[in-house]
Amino acid sequence: MLMNLFKFKGGVKPPTNKTQSNTLPIAQAPLPSRLIVPLHQSIGGTPRPVVKAGDHVLKGQLIGEADGWISAAVHAPTSGTVLEVAMHVQPHPSGLDAMCVVIEPDGRDKWIAHGPLDYAAMAPEAVREHLQQSGVVGLGGAAFPTHGKLTASKTVPMDELIINGAECEPFITCDDLLMRERAEEVVRGIGIFRDLLQPKKVLIGIEDNKPEAAAAMRAAVDALNEPFLVIQVPTLYPAGGAKQLIRVLTGKEVPAAKRSTDLGVQCFNVATAYTAWRAIAHGEPVVSRLVTVSGNVHAPRNYEVLIGTPMGELLKLATPHPDTDGIVMGGPMMGFLVPNEQVPVIKATNCLIAHSDRVFPPKAPEMPCIRCGACAEVCPHELQPFEMYWFSRAKNFGKTQEYHIFDCIECGCCSFVCPSRIPLVQYFRFAKSEIWAREREKNAADGAKTRFEFKQLRDEREKAEKAEKLAKVAAAQAAKKAAEAAAAAAAETAAAETGAPGNDSAAPESKAVAEATTLPDATLTTVDAEKEAKRAAIAAAMARAKAQRDAMPAKNTEAVTIEQQRAIDDIEARRAVLAPAAVPGEKTE
């Protein structure tokens, strides 16, 4: 099938280093001594642990419950005993700890009761929920919960479903082997995604350096009689980036600020499709994945590895050379050195590379930028990395955003070609995290300011309410007095009318009212008292409003001199800094 392919700008061609690990079939990694299963393995909410130390769990048993819609469940990768639910170091460049369920395998690897689902009878919503409950997440590296991507845009028709089998990073061959050996299940999984998204076309993109995988996928598509297109795309890093593959296959460019579904396209990794099929057709949650073990090792190959396997134990299977001095998780372009050998394999772990100076020669020292523009030429997002570098270096973060730093996908092409050996991506990560930190600080300060202002408002309101209450009491007393006076007057009038001599000092209006109406005098006087009270309340309200108006100009800054303004600004700045600190104090009140 001939198809018009598009190109993305930029890209680089690092040595692929794939042949080391793609010659042998997938091997099953043996049970490790213990499994450290992090609860937070996907983007979104951290699953809540549902087991505790001492519990016996079966393979596939739920151990972490999805927290919210964008979150995916976590399961026991084998049967055994929960040793602890505790903090352990994560496979993350930060080296920070996170909550993990540590399981000691009992060696039986006994599954929890599970079986195929009646897929044909399932409502789309039920399928999505089952995928969430099965812990199906994007296995291409981003680990976004898959069910969250399986809803088409309400306004834009779904044109293309892209299946990513490009695997553009050097060294990594796990998707290659998966497609070679398990193509049929991958294609069936794609069928599930197709059913949920109802796209017009399904395009499976595979880099043209994997002809065996492409052939296997084509055979599976034909065997299952699916209308999917298997397309070989030129080998050019980062063709396997979701946005780049979408561009190559459809010509559409998804900007950073948009979802791909807004452009009528969605993208999944082949391994994700495979796990989705296992979850539906066998009821198996995601408890293992394929991991390429390569680099400075004797026997590079792909392993089916239980989630939670300590990386050091996995690496040993490939017999690392003695000069190995670290483990890189992911590929050489975007991967990172893990903090130690104990960190576990997680759902996002597609590759381990034994690091040594032989495989990855140490970098030459960083030189000044000569603005050669090589980085801009290779940037797949058509950014100007050297400009962002100047501004990141100068900590001029506003400018970095003007140059679209958040469109950077950190693919590393710019660093790869830089003749000055500048670790550009590091500068961009630094700038991004600084911007995020500042945003958080600003939000905290804004929150504190809002709370402070609300407190002020509340104090004022309470004061006003108190004043009103006092005014009411005063008015009531005044009314009472008036009523007494009126009653006395009425009594006098009555006395006068009955011919009795009396004082003529009663209020003229009460007299007039009394004369004009036949209502009993007592009622009249109450009405008057009420009026009086109302008048007093209005007066109090007006006084309050006036007080507020008077208070306002104090805050106003219309008529201040420059020096005064500066002083005010200084005070405001100090207040802004102090405000967050004041928060806990406020809480303890």
Partner: protein, 338 residues
């Protein structure tokens, strides 16, 4: 151990980039030495040594690591461009003065490698032509029959500066002749003088320019430079010279003459393409180089200097920040908005 991704890097470095620029200059230098005289090789040596010593001194003064910066080759490229733009028999101290000015003031006082807003070699040329106009305008006639030893003696000042040296460049000669002729002499008559003019431009010099063109095309093929700068520079010179030539072929030389005379080819491929002081965006490069090409022609034909490349480049260097700012290309996914 902290080593951020990417772990794989392309085999490249600043030294490699600069070395390739030097290699690209070799065809032009070879033609120069063969056709004009080996004195240029002496000047290249003087300029290179001066540049390296000045660079080392400046790095030492700034406590920057010599081992890292001295081999980067940027000072050598500057030195070579200075030697190639100065008269080949200029006294040694003229080249030394120019090179010192370029390295010390135009480069290091602005912050060193990657920081200079002006092309250092062009600053050197501008400073010397303003300060020593006579010496900077004395170019040897092609027919000069002096041995290498004699040429070295002239450069070093051991021999008197003989009359044969006081020629002008073909470009300068034409301008002066046309001016003196006051319309009575036409370009065709002048070009017939085979002492000065060759097949399509200055005798001998035309092949030096062709050598630069060859080296420049090699740099483009090696992706050291993009097509934008040379294309726009040469295009602009061709357009303006062609337009005036069509308007009055008797008084204005044809585009071919202008392309292969003076510093057009050197400027288009080696000077305007300097990444540090030039524009970086594709559209910016086109504007920068077209502006430099136009100014080059205007200065060399209507101005008072023998050639216009140096001032044209320096004037356009001034415009780089604003051109770059206004020509930022649209990014991935945002092209409809732009």
């Amino acid at each position: 151990m902290f080593a951020p991704a990417p772990f794989l890097l392309k085999n490249t470095s600043v030294s490699q980039v600069m070395l390739q620029v030097c290699i690209a200059l070799v065809p032009g230098i070879a033609a120069y030495a063969w056709l004009v005289g080996p004195a240029i090789l002496v000047q290249l040596v003087i300029a290179t040594l001066t540049a390296l010593i000045a660079e080392a001194l400046m790095l030492r003064l700034q406590h920057k690591p010599l081992a890292m910066f001295l081999p980067d080759g940027s000072a050598i490229v500057t030195a070579w461009l200075i030697a190639l733009t100065f008269p080949p028999l200029a006294p040694w101290w003229l080249v030394v003065t120019g090179t010192l000015f370029a390295i010390v003031i135009a480069k290091h006082l602005y912050g060193g490698l990657g920081q200079n807003p002006f092309n250092p070699a062009m600053v050197a040329f501008a400073v010397c032509i303003v300060s020593f106009p006579a010496l900077m305008s004395q170019w040897p006639s092609i027919g000069l029959q002096a041995s290498l030893i004699e040429q070295i003696n002239i450069i070093l000042g051991f021999s008197p500066r003989i009359d044969a040296l006081s020629g002008a460049t073909p470009l300068d000669a034409m301008k002066t002749a046309l001016k003196l002729g006051e319309g009575g002499i036409d370009v065709a008559q002048l070009l017939a003088n085979q002492d000065i003019y060759g097949n399509f431009a200055g005798r001998g010099w035309e092949w030096v320019a062709a050598g630069y063109l060859l080296g420049g095309l090699w740099m483009w093929q090696r992706k050291l430079i993009t097509w934008h700068t040379p294309f726009a520079f040469i295009g602009a010179v061709t357009l303006i010279s062609g337009a005036l030539w069509l308007y009055n072929p008797a008084q204005f030389a044809n585009p071919l003459f202008h392309l292969f005379s003076g510093g057009t080819m050197l400027g288009a491929f080696f000077i305007a393409t300097d990444p540090v002081s030039g524009c970086t965006t594709p559209r910016g490069k086109l504007i920068f180089a077209a502006g430099a090409g136009l100014l080059t022609y205007i200065i060399r034909v209507f101005g008072g200097y023998p050639d216009g490349v140096a001032f044209a480049i320096l004037l356009m260097n001034l415009c780089v920040p604003v051109i770059d700012l206004l020509t930022q290309p649209p990014i991935f996914g945002m092209k409809d908005k732009a």
